[in-house]
């Protein structure tokens, strides 16, 4: 079973992401509500993927993503962001994050983005073997 670390300061968002990841991708989920806690939990649990909110009250998501990537260059991080934070998203991509999701997001978008970095999904319209469906 794949393990995903969900990082968001809002409990509602963490719960929504947890439900989608558990029900649709059959992942086990661990949660952090700030950047520092996220880095700590990443080191302790080595999750297969991380969803990281960009702006949090207790810790910048970009800084946390950077710290995680400094610890593990291969970490699969998906940033969760609001519209208008394009500059921050570009910075995150330059740091090495794998994808980003805009809020408000759809269930399908979460499934596709996280599934893809976990290697258990494929871009919409393509099979895992690379054939168009």
């Amino acid at each position: 079973m794949k393990k995903v670390l969900v990082v968001d300061d809002a409990r509602l968002m963490r719960n929504i992401l947890r439900r989608i990841l558990e029900e649709d991708l059959e992942c086990s989920v661990i949660e952090a509500c700030g950047g520092e806690e996220a880095v700590e939990l990443f080191k302790r649990h080595s999750p297969d993927a991380v969803t990281m909110d960009v702006t949090m009250e207790n810790g910048n998501g970009i800084e946390a993503a950077r710290a995680i990537l400094a610890y593990d260059r291969e970490a699969s991080i998906v940033m969760v962001t609001s519209t208008g934070q394009e500059r921050m998203v570009a910075e995150a991509v330059r740091c090495g994050v794998k994808d980003f999701i805009l809020k408000p997001f759809t269930r399908e978008r979460i499934r596709n983005a996280v599934g893809r970095v976990l290697g258990i999904g494929a871009p919409v319209g393509w099979t895992m073997a690379g054939e168009y469906r």
């Binding site: 809002a10 409990r11 509602l12 968002m13 719960n15 929504i16 609001s82 519209t83 208008g84 408000p104």
Partner: protein
């Protein structure tokens, strides 16, 4: 408060954004009522979400009013576990309107109106009487299958 041209444009853009984001978050159609101007709100609402707004040219407050059942339905649609208890339901409601207001602010920025919003505060009471910064507010109702939400926008130019 004077009803200037820029304020009317602000209201229109804000409401358009609210309508669009609300529809996307809750996957439903949202109908908008007519806009009126009032100095205080003493309707049937029992829950309100208050958001401060500040910018280079504007300052004020936006209030979302609704019945508690509507608030519970909205939070329950997204996360039934948080709707089960009153305290967590209010916490979830604040986050819902944080997303809505955040998107509205970005929508306004694209139209050259730069604003920041404060973290929403949720208040409840029965009856609930609100007085907005001793100034008049634009008030409008939004109707969706989840219930009615009143929006009071008390913004003035600096």
């Amino acid at each position: 408060m004077e009803l200037t041209h820029i304020d009317a444009r602000f209201i229109t853009l804000f409401l358009e954004s609210y309508q669009e984001v609300f529809g996307r978050v809750f996957d439903c159609d949202v109908c908008r009522g007519t806009v009126s101007v009032m100095s205080s709100q003493n309707g049937h609402s029992t829950v309100a979400v208050l958001t401060g707004v500040i910018g280079n040219c504007h300052t004020g407050m936006v209030v979302f009013r609704m019945k508690e059942e509507t608030a519970r339905r909205m939070v329950g649609y997204l996360d039934p576990t948080m709707a089960a208890f009153r305290e967590s339901m209010f916490e979830g409601l604040g986050e819902v309107f944080n997303i809505v207001s955040g998107n509205a602010v970005q929508h306004l920025a694209k139209n050259k109106i730069d604003l920041s919003i404060t973290t929403p505060s949720v208040v409840a009471g029965n009856p609930l009487a609100l007085h907005l910064l001793n100034q008049s507010a634009y008030s409008v109702s939004m109707l969706s299958p989840l219930g009615e939400v009143g929006i009071d926008i008390a913004i003035k130019r600096l």
